[in-house]
């Protein structure tokens, strides 16, 4: 009786991409915020080369995380404000298909911002950030907090203080992802031997998996009236 799971998730993702391509509401605000933050960091932190190597991954992840929070809030608010979340819930679909569709959309937007930042930061901080392992860490890290963020944004979007509530709830929960991502990124940028840091991406894989499973299980309870 239900619409096939992946068909429903794909329809939701396709709708999000279609809406974004037309309005550019999410990517423009996330991108502008991220670029401004990077510029401010680059001018505010007068660092020598060694200090820069230590700080740059923190700058990257702080910027990506906060830009993503901005996008997550807007993405779910768009569903809530016009009652569209209810319209989706009225359809004969598995409710976790809504989570998967929204998650992939949010993840792609966060990843786009992360990928955009790498060349910009390479120029501004005079240090190459375009490295395969760093790309892998970016892919894993953004997946982790996009997963937690999509679930929590679905909860907070129903409250009045949604803009402030999401970071308050999300940052402590996403901390393992951010710590592992920053540690791995710092080591990669400092050319530390792989054996000394490979545990961090492995931790990211495990944390991502745990978050994905938990968020899929919890989503139905989160959207219940």
């Amino acid at each position: 009786m239900n619409t096939p799971f992946f068909q429903a998730a794909w329809a939701i993702l396709r709708k999000d991409l279609q809406t974004e391509l037309r309005s550019r509401e999410l990517l423009s605000s996330m991108g502008l915020f991220a670029l401004l933050s990077i510029f401010i960091f680059s001018f505010a932190l007068e660092l020598d080369r060694i200090a820069r190597q230590e700080a740059i991954s923190g700058v990257l992840w702080v910027t990506v995380v906060f830009a993503s929070i901005l996008g997550l809030n807007r993405s779910l608010a768009m569903e809530r404000d016009q009652g569209n979340l209810d319209a989706m819930l009225l359809a004969p679909i598995n409710r976790t298909a809504i989570f998967l569709g929204k998650l992939i959309g949010n993840y792609l937007f966060a990843l786009t911002i992360g990928l955009l930042l790498l060349p910009v930061m390479t120029v501004l901080f005079n240090m190459s950030l375009i490295q395969p392992w760093l790309l892998l860490v970016l892919v894993l890290g953004t997946l982790g907090f996009s997963t937690v963020g999509t679930l929590l944004a679905t909860m907070t979007v129903q409250t009045r203080a949604r803009e402030s509530l999401l970071p308050i709830l999300m940052l402590p929960i996403a901390l393992p992802v951010v710590i592992a991502a920053v540690k791995a990124s710092t080591s990669i940028l400092n050319n530390v031997p792989m054996g000394d840091w490979i545990a961090w991406p492995q931790i990211l894989v495990v944390v991502d998996f745990v978050y994905l499973v938990l968020c899929f299980l919890l989503f139905e309870f989160v959207i219940e009236d």
Partner: protein
């Protein structure tokens, strides 16, 4: 699946939010093809009842059957035969009318080859055939509500739930909506509509219910009372409930 004669049946339905009792042991049957107007003051439980029937909310206790399927246990089967129109448009403003309907058609798993024809038909029916490729954000409130009805009819539902669909409509738009509802009723759909407009309810519906403080205070065919009499009865019931 249970065999029931009424299309919609509620038994001892209770809904509470923390300590607030919204619906109190409601028993109600609605036959196939009825047009029921559900009246009542704000906070009487009308919208809550519609949310329960649509599966958007779960009852605290009691049972609901729609087309023989039980809620919330068989929610997916129930949702497939329901269309809902609310005072909010439930549409994406940055998509065109056609794109909105295509999105919901995919969610309802309509056969791919039928989607375009079905959308064309519905857009014509609600008078938006020429605006199918316009963005919804450029639509007036009345046009959005007509598109909302097209969305609700996409899956050819047996039951239409309308939660104050006239909110914010001007007189012309309200008349267009009257026509669409009359047509849906003539097509044999079962309609349950909440409203504050007693005259319109008496004119369009086949049966009128007045909900007051979570109970049904009045239940009769719409023809039993004229607009004026219904208004008097409504005041009597709602003021009694307030005095209690």
């Amino acid at each position: 699946m249970a065999e029931k004669s009424a299309l919609i049946e509620m038994r001892a339905l209770v809904k509470t939010y923390d300590l607030l009792i919204v619906l109190r042991k409601l028993d109600l049957k609605i036959e196939r093809g009825e047009f029921v107007a559900l009246l009542g003051p704000n906070g009487s439980g009308k919208s809550t009842l519609l949310r329960l029937l649509s599966g958007l909310s779960k009852p605290t206790s009691g049972t609901i059957f729609i087309g023989g399927w039980e809620l919330p246990r068989e929610a997916a089967a129930v949702r497939a035969q329901i269309g809902m129109v609310s005072h909010r448009a439930l549409l994406y403003e940055n998509l065109t009318a056609r794109e909105n309907l295509q999105f919901f058609a995919r969610l309802y798993n309509l056969p791919q080859q039928d989607i375009d024809a079905q959308i064309r038909l519905l857009l014509e029916r609600v008078g938006l055939a020429k605006r199918g490729d316009s963005l919804v954000r450029t639509f007036s409130r009345g046009m959005q509500q007509r598109l909302s009805i097209a969305r609700a009819l996409l899956n050819n539902p047996a039951v239409l739930l309308m939660d104050e669909p006239y909110t914010g409509l001007d007189q012309d738009a309200a008349q267009v909506l009257d026509g669409l509802l009359t047509q849906a009723y003539a097509d044999g759909r079962t309609i349950l509509m909440t409203s504050h407009d007693l005259d319109r309810a008496a004119r369009l519906a086949s049966r009128v219910l007045i909900l007051s403080r979570g109970n049904i205070g009045y239940d009769a065919p719409a023809s039993a009372l004229n607009g004026q009499q219904l208004s008097e009865r409504y005041s009597e019931i709602t003021s009694l409930a307030t005095a209690r």
